[in-house]
Symmetry: C2
């Protein structure tokens, strides 16, 4: 599978994929005879995970570190768990912000629809 299709499947843009490879968040992707990237099923699974994490705001540094741990041979389970759990906590915060904002929007829209003004 080449970059365009991999991009469609994973949700990462071709530019982002190349960028992640350069930064070491993706492993070095195999190339065909003409030098074009060919993505394996394994690559795609990893990319889908990355897409999920970045869309919900995990910083590059953490993704980078997590990738490093996964690709190392040592037993790094506990640090990996730490990273994932800290992201879980971040999601919890985000959910709260989201709910606050939803409530505020609902309130403001209510006002606009009945009365007319109030920024």
């Amino acid at each position: 599978m080449r970059i365009k299709q991999a991009s469609e499947v994973s949700g990462l843009s071709p530019d982002t994929i190349r960028y992640y490879e350069k930064e070491g968040i993706l492993p070095t992707i195999a190339r065909d005879l003409s030098g074009q990237r060919t993505f394996s099923k394994d690559n795609l699974n990893w990319m889908e995970l990355l897409q999920c994490l970045r869309q919900t705001g995990m910083p590059m540094k953490d993704m980078s570190r997590y990738a490093q741990l996964v690709h190392s041979d040592d037993n790094t389970t506990s640090e990996r768990i730490d990273i994932l759990k800290s992201h879980q906590a971040r999601l919890e915060d985000k959910r709260k912000e989201l709910e606050n904002c939803e409530a505020l929007l609902k309130y403001k829209l209510g006002i606009y629809e009945t009365k007319g003004d109030l920024h």
Copy 2:
């Protein structure tokens, strides 16, 4: 109220406050005799709304446009409603992404805790 306290109340950093004023997302803030910004209750309300919108990913352009509408004298209610509603839709999408990611994290953590490996 000066910038530091306004920052604590609103959740926007002093730098962000200055940046938003420069960009016109905040109105020109009043100054005291020595040139320091003094924030009114009205300023603070507006800043809290901005903080809420930006934390949930409304782009500057939309915040800018909304600010412009609020500070204009014309009746701009319908465009304001459009902006807020499109943000509501964005929040809906974000909620879904968040839930996907939460499920994935839960699954991965489950695996780490029982078996040990699988990125």
